[in-house]
Amino acid sequence: MSYAEKLLPPQPAPPVLAPPVSWSRIFGLCVMGLWAALAASLLYMMVSGWDNEKFLRYGPRYLSGLWVTVSLVGLSVVMGALMSLPIAFARMSTSKVLNAISYCYVYIFRGTPLLAQLYLIYYGLGSFKPQLDSVGLWWFFRDAWYCGLLSLTLNTAAYQAEILRGAIQSVPRGQHEGAAALGLPKKVAFLKIILPQALIVALRPYGNEIILLIKGSAVVAVITVFDLMGQTRYAFSRTFDYQAYLWAAIFYLAIVEALRHLWAWIEARLTRHLKR
């Protein structure tokens, strides 16, 4: 019987083999080169086509358009959240009538394009001028900004109602039963036990919905609201300078990316007690 007399001396690590050059590497480098060339040409286009007069004339307009977009989206998200509460509860109620009404509302607003809803509200309802005048609502439907706000709010309310309903229904039944076993009244149980858990589930979809709304809000430019997109179209129609759209793209990308990262940070912060 034999056994090792002494330990083997420590061996050096095997040499790292260079990864073989594969097609995917070549293709990836090519596409990266394409992106770099595109970015460089855009930069060149911006530097060579820089016009101080244009910048001074349209720069402030872009900023005002940015403010219109942000205020439109912010207001409609808040008002849509308020509106989505009764819709979500109607959707979960046992009453057949409430259920049917809220289901139809959600289905209609999620099944039709935002642009069609916008046209329906601005041009469609706008054609009832005498009737609206007699009710005293004409000032509202005359203004494209208010119409854009109304249609964005109605649209996002439908989506947010679905998010809220899904989140509340995702809370396991045991939580309701636990609250009932503790003798908590329904209202307290909902506010202190169900809602906090539901909102954590709803956090990510809410972020997606806000981003979708920022992107969707660009269509209000079509009914002559001067939001970021509207100012872009104005600048393009005056100058025929392609940079107008590139600046808008930079603005939108910056907003969306900033919001996405902010939301990821908020989510990580709010769910840190769930991480192990």
């Binding site: 099944g111 394009p113 054609s127 392609y242 990308l253």
Partner: protein, 267 residues
């Protein structure tokens, strides 16, 4: 040969007429609305709107395969072992998921126009080019669709266990065959709900091409609304048509869902 083509095209036109749900021989507008504002023919707007419906459906149907294939390859690139390829695909999805669809449409429409024009000017041809709105809409929509589709497919890829690939290797399959015979059927089954949602949003996004002048549902109803001063009725009609399309496609997606699950164990 030209006789064959003309016969085919007239046959195609006949099919388009006979199975037209709005203005065909058994179309809704022809039967129920023959003496109203949406009558077919010169008296009303029925045939124009029916044409718009066809344009919307064909735009969505043409965009779908392009976007799906592009999205599939981008999903493959996103999970590639190579860092450059991953980054390149990530930049693509970040850009096109961050831009509003309307802005993408404008960038593609005017950008292609200007690129072609400057290329022609470089070659010495001075001419104003106007590219086809259908083509521009198709490109823009499929780019947007593919970037969302790649995310859906990527998460579906991640849901397929590694053992499935190893099983393919154990059977001696080539990598393409493993993909085609083992991975893809499961991938479709997992990704179908997400892809169904994407199809719904694609259907809604086609409405945006009316802004660059393609005569889809919204454009045709808009023209009718402007001429006839019945804006509310026509835009309501447009919303109803989109709703009907959404309902039909959810029925269709349900069928496909059952078809892909036909071999699963019934529980």
């Amino acid at each position: 040969m030209s006789g064959l083509f003309s016969a085919l095209s007239s046959f195609w036109a006949w099919i388009g007429y006979a199975f037209d749900p709005l203005c065909g021989p058994v179309g809704l507008f022809r039967i129920f609305a023959s003496d109203t504002i949406v009558a077919c023919g010169d008296a009303g707007w029925g045939d124009e709107i029916a044409f718009g419906v066809k344009v919307t459906i064909s735009l969505a149907l043409v965009t779908l395969p392009v976007g799906l294939v592009l999205g599939f390859f981008i999903a493959l690139a996103l999970q590639s072992r190579d860092k450059a390829l991953r980054t390149a695909a990530g930049i693509y999805t970040t850009i096109f998921r961050g831009l509003p669809e309307l802005l993408t449409l404008f960038i593609v429409y005017y950008g292609l126009q200007m690129a072609i024009q400057s290329m022609l000017a470089y070659m010495g041809v001075e001419e104003r080019i106007e590219i086809n709105a259908f083509f521009a809409g198709m490109i823009a929509l499929s780019v947007v669709f593919s970037s969302y589709c790649s995310e859906v497919l990527l998460s579906a890829f991640r849901a397929i266990p590694k053992g499935q690939y190893e099983a393919g290797d154990a059977l001696g399959f080539h990598r393409g065959r493993t993909m085609l015979l083992i991975i893809l059927p499961q991938l479709i089954r997992i990704a179908l709900p997400g892809l169904g949602n994407l199809w719904m949003s694609l259907l809604k996004d086609t409405a945006l091409v009316s802004v660059i002048g393609l005569s889809d549902i919204l454009r045709q109803t808009g023209v009718a609304a402007k001429v006839s001063k019945e804006a509310f009725f026509f835009y309501l009609l447009a919303c109803c048509l989109f709703l009907v399309l959404a309902m039909l496609s959810s029925i269709g997606i349900g069928f496909i869902d059952r078809w892909t699950k036909r071999s699963e164990v019934r529980r």
